[in-house]
């Protein structure tokens, strides 16, 4: 069955991989330590042309009503932005179009430690873009209060590692206000942005991925963008969503991920995954930073460097792996994942958080229930170990492309 799948999809796989190879053969930057492999800076998953950007799947222009034809791209412009610029652009639009919108958090007024709010205080005034004291529970509670009054509160927690003092406000208040008031109150206007995931040298308290801690908090939404276009569209979607949203921004992508980003007001759908590379032999599911490690892993699988050749059976090199970016962790897009796994019969989930009670645990439980008879291999999880992120050991804790390709080989040859 696997062989048949591989033959059917060989063309698709080669097509997907060839982009990466071409890109690398003409890369200006020196090759990364791992050899000629794609990384964030030259990823084919990033939309570097105007046309590609404007045709991002699921894009919805806010100035269009639903009646017109979809994907009207004529006359629209894009601008080259990295992720923090795209986040800033989204907040600028929210502030411009919605007079109740405010942006606040620690060190936000001077532009934020990751530069996401640069110039916003100057543009919109300190009444709308302001510093708060160092109190995450205060920030969350304040945002809930504004949202209770029907205002749009865009709060920043400086690192997601520091969100836990706000846990009570988020989980017991923001998530439950609508239910406990029988729908008479809600805090849909609240969006909490916070940087997440590792950068390689952050240690215990600048590397965590807390998405799964919020996964059981019914009433919340949890979103993680992978790129500038995604960040802008999903953030605007989150700000306008009728529910409180935790918006986790992978911090290593703030500067490294660059795309042409439509300058108009648009949103991307929450609760919806995106299939980045179609395939038929295995589903590779991830979100945030590891999206790019997965891309590298696909490349290693298709054309391993000489040193790894012996570990990648020739028969698997033309395997067609479907890469899906989950994007929303809560609610997560079970339909897209189920449909994919029913087709491929295999699922590898990658996330940076630890394995035990990570988001992958929930997903694999649900998928094995729905796809039990279609599975050709156990659902595999490539995750951080169940450890705090020890600074000097990060390269061996956070999953990289090698661990992903190793899991792909094992799963494909199970």
């Amino acid at each position: 069955m696997l062989t048949a799948n591989i033959k059917r999809s060989a063309r698709t796989a080669r097509k997907a991989i060839s982009h990466i190879v071409r890109c690398n053969s003409s890369a200006v930057e020196p090759p990364p330590a791992g050899g000629h492999l794609p990384s964030v800076s030259n990823s084919q998953l990033l939309r570097s042309t105007r046309d590609a950007a404007l045709r991002s799947p699921g894009i919805r222009w806010t100035d269009e009503d639903d009646s017109g034809p979809a994907n009207i791209v004529g006359g629209r412009e894009t601008r080259k932005m990295n992720t923090y610029q795209a986040v800033r652009d989204a907040m600028s639009i929210a502030l411009m179009k919605d007079d109740t919108a405010v942006v606040f958090g620690e060190d936000v007024a001077f532009g934020g430690v990751f530069r996401c709010t640069m110039g916003l205080a100057e543009e919109f005034g300190r009444e709308r873009v302001f510093n708060t004291p160092l109190t995450e529970q205060g920030i969350a509670g304040f945002g809930i209060g504004m949202a209770l009054m029907g205002h749009t509160a865009i709060a920043e927690i400086q690192f997601s590692d520091y969100i836990f003092p706000a846990f009570d406000q988020i989980v017991n208040e923001a998530a439950k206000v609508r239910y406990r008031s029988g729908g008479s109150y809600n805090v849909g206007g609240l969006t909490i942005r916070t940087p997440t995931m590792s950068v390689g040298h952050g240690g215990l308290y600048h590397s965590q991925s807390p998405e799964a801690f919020f996964m059981g908090a019914a009433g919340l939404k949890v979103v993680i963008p992978r790129s500038p276009i995604q960040a802008k569209g999903l953030l605007l979607g989150a700000i306008r969503d009728p529910n409180p949203v935790i918006f986790l921004e992978p911090k290593i992508l703030y500067r490294s991920a660059v795309e042409q980003v439509p300058i108009d007001d648009f949103s991307l759908p929450l609760g919806s995954a995106e299939t980045l590379v179609p395939g038929n032999d295995c589903t590779l599911l991830t979100w945030g930073t590891p999206v790019y490690h997965c891309e590298t892993a696909l490349h290693l699988l298709a054309s391993p460097p000489p040193s790894l050749e012996k570990h990648i059976p020739t028969s698997l090199r033309s395997a067609s792996v479907e890469l899906i970016d989950l994007r929303s962790i809560l609610p997560w897009d079970v339909q897209t994942v189920e449909e994919s796994v029913k087709r491929t019969g295999r699922l590898v989930i990658v996330h940076e958080a630890g394995m035990t009670a990570g988001a992958g645990a929930e997903i694999s439980a649900e998928i094995q229930k729905r796809c039990f008879l279609k599975l050709n291999a156990p659902v595999s999880r490539v995750t951080g170990w169940d450890l705090p992120v020890g600074l000097q050991f990060e390269k061996f804790i956070i999953p990289d492309a090698l661990r992903i390709v190793d899991a792909l080989v094992k799963t494909l040859s199970y």
């Binding site: 007024a109 160092l134 836990f164 952050g202 240690g203 215990l204 308290y205 169940d386 061996f396 090698l402």
Partner: protein, 456 residues
Amino acid sequence: MIRSAPSSIVFRAGQVRRIASAAGKDYGRLPHSNSPIVSKLKFFNAVSGDGNTIPTYRVLDGVGKPLEGAELPEIDRALARKVYEHMQLLPTLDTVLYNVQRQGKISFYMTSHGEEATIIGSAAALELDDEVLGGHGYPLPPVFALTSFNRAIPRNRGSSLAYGLDNVMAQCFGNEEDTASKGKQMPVHLSSPKYHFHTISSPLATQIPQAAGVAYALRRIPSRRSRSIAACYFGEGAASEGDFHAGLLMASTIPSPALFIARNNGFAISTPSSEQFYGDGIASRGPGYGIHTIRVDGNDVLAVMSAVKEARKRCLEEGRAVLIEAMTYRVGHHSTSDDSFAYRARAEVEDWKKIDNPITRFRLFLESQGWWDAQAEEELKDRLKADVMKAFKRAESLPKPELKELFTDVYGGEEPWNLKEQRAELQGLLRKYGNEWEPWKAEIGRFRNKARDLID
């Protein structure tokens, strides 16, 4: 507004009290409070009755001359020189490690430029077996000062100040000699049970309620009761966290000899203290919790020493918490991740360095006493620089800890199955790919024994 009837009578604790009507007379008491009853509608918004700002205690003026009426702490030539040498060590160490970080040799660093008097003055007034809880932002200096200050120092290490430097460097480099975190923590996150210095956490203010618990435990240890306190350091930014309020409340309500040392240096990363609180600094909060409080000039090392010494005494005598707010100015950037000229003028910082340099202030005092001169200054600077460079070069040359440390110290007692299995999984991956996957191959070589401890 309803006035009390002059003849009304309240019954309280078996007493019958007659309530008088004239102003200033006794109107009786509320059931659970000693609050006097008054007939005037009056709001208040100050700790002092007269509405004045809380004063700042100072001993030496800007040029190192004792203020009129100020009492100097007990200090002789030897102690004064020792304090000064330690104050000079901080910027020497900071300058080297800041540059080392800029060269990419360590991942992060935080300096304490401009705050030398608060750090060294407070450390000099603590006892070696006081428990110290530091925080992210001010982690390094207290332990360094303590480890090197109040100990008999082995002379064969070249110089007295070199003691402790190797430990500090080892932690910043996360090398095999890093006993503070075995390579697990970011630089300047020290810990040392030997010197009663508790492990540093990056999350802010978490140490503040912990200090209350530490102090309460000290009360319950017969040999340490009335002998040791818990000294807890944090910045004015951390005092905004809920943990600050929780910690002071716990320490005062459940009486605990905790000394809270708030270092108000004017900035929490970019946020000026004017946006951090609207009240009268951190000191105004102490009385709210019934805690003895003093505000001290944190750039005056003698004032800091006196205040901490007296505060420590009160902690022990009363078994209760004390709060010190040390007023200083963060001359350096918040950390190596920060460029403070994005939110404050370079000239402001340069001016402040000239107007009020705590090191200069104390040096002028020493010189006025005939305890210091230009030659001693030159010798000290050369020696400190040599010591720091030596420790830096040594730390740089050492490998990282054994790779197996990555899985140690998660649990005490029996290791759970998931960690056992995950270690085995990593072991298998390293055996299979360790020599072939470039990013790992290069990294493995940096660990002690080239990670053989885990691979074999």
